[in-house]
Symmetry: C2
């Protein structure tokens, strides 16, 4: 494990020095014992000019593994510098799902060059994978997997593994199919090792099958793989034929990417596909400005409500001082509920059909929170604002207006916060977009209306 | 894959009916082909009374696998109903890391009973695991792994796998140790299968090793495992002896749990360890009220600033209508920056040493966003508020006050938002706690001060 900052700097220093002194043999020796992911990190950090030089020092197989781990802009730069035979060499070493992942990120000119250099089989498979929708299991599956026939013996299976297992991404899980490629069973290489040489595959395979379809959402497939503790999920096409597998390492990447997107959406940003520091300021701006603009303009309504009650406020200006607290408390209460529900949705713990259970829960939580917050606020207003700070405008009716508003706003915010994401899911929108900023804006406006309603009832303004 | 709501309801209906009619053989048949995770879900949903009846229908090995997947309160309930021999049966089937995970969640009385029934070796190992800090790799590792000696032949290794491989959680990755249990190399079962029977292990093992320590943070170990696409991470003790492995399925659970905690902390909630709908309203309240209370009381400062400028506001009440927009825009801008940095921190993409790069990036993004937002706001105020709505109080100086404040607040919010999480990480606090609600409160107060400063400068109030 390269401990991120400390060792990284040391290695980078070494690499810079060796590159300057043209100590290429030593550089190669330095990289050889490292993990591909770490080498990729170092290449990225070493800078644009060094990357293609350093990359060419790596032995062929390692080079391909490192290539997969690079960011797509570095991959593009490398490919543009490759001779045709270099490109072919890399492609030959890549697993199909990795190759497909790379091709998806490249501009058309590069894609054409890649398809041109790929073997006919790879080209055919790449074309197939590229036809699946971007978020589907088909788009991330690997079409190279090891399948067995049910009438093979264990010894036959071992022979098959020895013959073609070297080219597969994984042989830990083996799939048994019939002549029409329908999935019959699954077994692990351990099952094979613990069985007798003469045992038939059909006698030792597990026929309790779980699979996903090529068109299934890749995030759901990844979550299912995690839930079942699988090393790979078999993927079938529309005719239920086994066409590929999604392996656990790819599932982890899918989950990580989806989680990052959720975080971004919840914080009112458009999802980005590059690491934070590698995104240019301009791209970050593009991802952030749309929601900022929308939310700023929608805050106009809140402003209009305030303008509308300008005279009421002028008559009792003390009310104004509690508006930030009310809008903050409402926003935070709503955010808590919405984030809890959004997370539960993405972990498949709740569903729109649970909406009543969720609402009932949030109403009780909201009531508990509201009563506590209103109580604390009452004490604070009477003891601190009135007695300690001597603000004689803080009368008991004013206190009541503020505290009743707190109570009602908290309950309402919880109800809005928990139901909007469920509603969004139901109508096919992304629940994460319904998170805090959106709900805060909605709750802001609502809480002001409630506030002035109570004020006009209790203070007669 | 049980498609969450639709099939679940169907199965539950069937289970209820069969239970009522005492069709136990059919119930057993229903469960047998299912995945343990799905059976656990159905048992949980079937209700408190049914669970122990249904559980006892499962064959021994499947029962243990289902047991691991249950929520800890159901596990506790089942254990309390177990006879001593039933408890022993379950324990015998469990992998050590699962047993340790269960024991950690149980009250003392149950723990004593479990330790009492465990085999002496399991008791010893459980005691060892339980001594590791809760968040350490040691606390989630499995001490049962398959190790080989370097002078074994491939044939010897297969013999060893056939003899003891059945009891191991995984045999896909094998570790080569010296007599003092120091890690020498690693190989996959595929390497064994593709090698000759007479090859020596030391000739085919991979000596480029990556490992973690028992005291390392479990989340970091899980992230490393994901980064390197490993199926298991070897764990060494203080003396660098191999003592266990963390497998990919456990790493996925760790990441999922840590992500949920991050979401909760960012939304100002204390982390909970149960799924959303299974947490009682009272427990949810306990997790949410502390931050709501703190944030409500800290909004007092914002209120005090407003009170302080009460006279200035009374002189130019139109300013009041733009406060929600200012605080919202500031809060959202800060949240975007903080969430982006918090996520980058947890993916190990940035570090405190990057603080200047991060600040430089956010300042540029802030400036871009600020200029756009201020510009849009100027247009909106002049065209909508002044011309369309005919509010003659919206003069050009007022516009300038609002727009300059927007610009400055956005830049400041970005700077605060990105640096607070980095600072928190540096001084050993949790960066996720520095997220939106905290930053919004801080930005709220700051933006008001800036607003009134500009107002007094440009409007002379």
């Amino acid at each position: 494990m390269i401990d991120y900052q400390e060792e990284l700097e040391l290695y980078l220093e070494q690499i810079r020095e060796m590159t300057q002194n043209k100590q290429y043999a030593q550089l190669r020796e330095l990289f050889l014992p490292m993990e591909p992911a770490d080498i990729a990190l170092l290449l990225e950090e070493a800078g644009e000019e060094a990357i293609s030089l350093l990359y060419r020092l790596l032995p062929k197989e390692l080079a391909a593994e490192v290539f997969v781990e690079l960011e797509s802009d570095s991959q593009e730069k490398l490919i543009n510098g490759f001779s045709n035979s270099e490109l072919k060499e890399v492609l030959d070493e890549l697993y199909l799902d990795d190759a497909a992942g790379i091709v998806e990120e490249m501009p058309a000119s590069v894609v054409i060059r890649i398809l041109d250099r790929a073997t006919p089989e790879m080209r055919k498979s790449l074309n197939e994978i590229l036809q699946y929708p971007e978020d589907s299991a088909g788009s991330i599956m690997n079409m190279e997997f090891l399948s067995l026939k049910k009438d093979m013996t264990v010894a036959d299976a071992f022979k098959r593994i020895r013959r073609i297992g070297g080219e597969m991404e994984t042989i830990n899980i083996l799939y048994v199919t019939d002549p029409t490629r329908h999935l019959l069973g699954v077994l692990s290489v351990r099952d094979l090792l613990l069985a007798d040489e003469e045992d038939l595959i059909e006698d030792i395979m597990d026929t309790n099958l779980v699979w996903a379809k090529t068109v299934d959402d890749k995030e759901e497939v990844a979550q299912a793989l995690s839930k079942y503790d699988f090393l790979a999920m078999p993927i079938v096409d529309k005719e239920d034929r086994l066409v590929g597998i999604v392996t656990v390492d790819d599932a982890m990447d899918v989950i990580e990417e989806a989680t990052t997107e959720d975080f971004e959406k919840m914080a009112a940003m458009l999802p980005s596909d590059k690491p934070y520091l590698r995104t240019r300021a301009f791209d970050t701006w593009k991802a952030r400005i749309p929601w900022l603009m929308i939310l700023m303009l929608s805050a106009t309504f809140t402003g209009m409500i305030l303008s509308h009650y300008e005279n009421a406020l002028a008559a009792c200006l003390v009310l104004n001082a509690y508006i930030p607290m009310l809008s903050g408390t409402g926003g935070n209460s709503g955010t808590q509920a919405s984030v809890a529900v959004i997370r539960a949705l993405s972990l498949d713990e709740v569903d729109f059909s649970d909406v009543l259970r969720v609402l009932w829960k949030e109403l009780r939580v909201g009531l508990l929170c509201g009563v506590c917050l209103a109580g604390a606020n009452f004490l604070k207003m009477m003891l601190v604002d009135r007695m300690l700070l001597g603000n004689s405008e803080v009368t008991i009716p004013v206190c009541l207006v503020v505290c009743l508003t707190v109570l009602l706003v908290v309950v309402l915010a919880k109800a809005i916060g928990c139901s909007l994401p469920l509603l969004a899911e139901k109508i096919g929108l992304d629940p994460a977009v319904m998170a805090s900023p959106f709900i805060s804006t909605l709750v802001d406006a609502t809480s002001l209306l409630i506030y002035f309603q109570f004020a006009s009832m209790l203070l007669g303004i």
